[in-house]
Symmetry: C2
């Protein structure tokens, strides 16, 4: 069961991933194709609905051509 704080964090992470994807002008389908991840899963991740695993986070970082630290440059309160 996710705590309230965890949910907020996942929403923050998802928003950051969405921001990076749109900056790169990639659609969900394009990012799905590049990352080999299901596009509906990426959609849920961007909405903070999935407690993403480390390896999936790395796949997305590679597909977005960013370092992990660029994704995680937000404060964890």
């Amino acid at each position: 069961m996710l705590k309230e704080g965890d949910k907020k964090l996942l929403v923050k992470l998802g928003a950051r991933l969405n921001e990076l994807r749109t900056e790169k002008e990639l659609s969900l389908r394009q990012l799905s194709y590049i990352s080999n991840l299901d596009y509906s899963t990426i959609g849920k991740i961007e909405k903070g609905q999935v407690n993403i695993t480390f390896t999936t986070l790395v796949e997305l970082a590679k597909a977005l051509e960013v370092e992990l630290v660029e994704i995680l440059n937000f404060r964890i309160d």
Copy 2:
């Protein structure tokens, strides 16, 4: 099923977490107590045997009193 590359990444992450824990002179039990995570799970995470979720990574970062970027400051090849 984890790919070989994923396993290597998890081992790298685990080693980094172990490095941070030992720098702080915390035992597994102490880190377990602070983070509210099971100490045997932390042990497996440090050995790269667990595809850690984002919220667990954040719990460990908080318990180790480091920012996520300090944990993830290694290259993802």
